[in-house]
């Protein structure tokens, strides 16, 4: 039974010549297909694909750069503020140091300029 089935299948699938006029009919049908809407330009496809592919990483990179620049700016402002505070403190200390120096020089000056006491008082001035 299976042999019969195989034979019938082989007969049904045997190569046969195309009917007369088949090629002409196919050729006639071709111009009708050409009239359809033109396909999009092949160049446009990669651009759109590129945009779709790199838009997110580019946005991330841009956000990273912006945040880096912002961070740098904040750090600069903070460093300037710290430097200003340290500078003002140092200038106050400098003025205080000069005042103490002047007080002590004045003490020496007063001691040197005071007229010498009468003999017997123990004071040395140079």
């Amino acid at each position: 039974m299976s042999e019969n089935f195989e034979n019938e299948l082989r007969r049904a699938l045997r190569p046969i010549d195309a009917p007369d006029g088949f090629a002409e009919r196919v050729m006639r049908a071709l111009p009708a297909q050409r009239d359809r809407e033109p396909l999009p330009a092949p160049e446009a496809l990669p651009t759109r694909r590129l945009v779709r592919r790199f838009a997110v990483p580019a946005a991330f990179a841009a956000a990273l750069v912006v945040s880096m620049l912002l961070g740098q700016h904040v750090a600069d402002v903070q460093r300037q503020r710290t430097e200003q505070q340290a500078g003002l403190a140092a200038s106050r200390e400098l003025m205080e140091a000069l005042k103490v120096t002047s007080q002590k020089l004045d003490l020496a000056y007063q001691a040197v300029k005071t007229p010498p006491p009468p003999a017997g008082d123990e004071e040395n001035r140079t």
Binding site: E93, L98, K104
Partner: protein, 194 residues
């Protein structure tokens, strides 16, 4: 092996502070911190301005203020200012040995005592020293001891005595009669023409 590594690390640790210390500049005194005295003192002034802090402080001085403007001119040539000043409620509450330790450094060659003022009656003792290097003042040291106060001042750098002299009156700095160089003869004054 572990012991060797531990010993090596200990040795490195002990030498690290020595290596990190910068050698003192010419005219710079080794002034102790007097931490114990600061606790006992009723008032204390402790100023430590090395060259970096001094130049920073110098930049922030207000040039429009006459006092600060003069200080600005003076401090540009300096490389350090160190002041320790302590005031006590009792007489002679500070150990004199600490002061003598600093005074000994001022007996080194180059240092010259330009003022010595001692009053046994009032118990004050003020010494002013200048370090001369290549005919220029490279350091100033002041040791002032009073019954209830002692002060050590050390100014390091190319001290322009003329500039210090120009501060006279502004910080109540007196004219100590420091010679600042050869005096040039005064130009003859022109008589006003009738």
């Amino acid at each position: 092996m572990t012991i060797r590594i531990a010993l090596l690390l200990a040795a490195l640790e002990s030498t690290a502070p020595v290596l990190s210390q910068t050698p003192p500049l010419k005219g710079q005194l080794n002034i102790p911190q007097f931490a114990a005295l600061a606790d006992k003192a009723s008032e204390s002034v402790n100023v430590t301005l090395d060259s970096k802090l001094l130049s920073l402080g110098c930049r922030f001085l207000n040039a429009e203020d006459p006092e600060q403007a003069d200080a600005k001119k003076l401090c540009t040539s300096l490389s350090g200012i160190y002041v320790r000043s302590y005031t006590f409620d009792k007489d002679f509450a500070y150990p004199k040995a600490d002061i003598e330790g600093v005074r000994r450094q001022l007996s080194a060659p180059g240092w010259n005592r330009i003022v010595e003022a001692k009053s046994n009656k009032e118990g004050t003792n003020v010494d002013v020293f200048v370090l001369i290097d290549n005919d220029k003042a490279a350091g100033l040291g002041i040791i002032a001891s009073e019954p209830r106060q002692f002060t050590i001042v050390n100014i390091v750098g190319n001290i322009d005595l003329e500039q210090l002299h120009s501060l006279e009156g502004k910080f109540s700095i007196p004219n100590l009669g420091i010679e600042t160089g050869p005096k040039t003869p005064e130009a003859p004054k022109k008589k006003p023409q009738p």
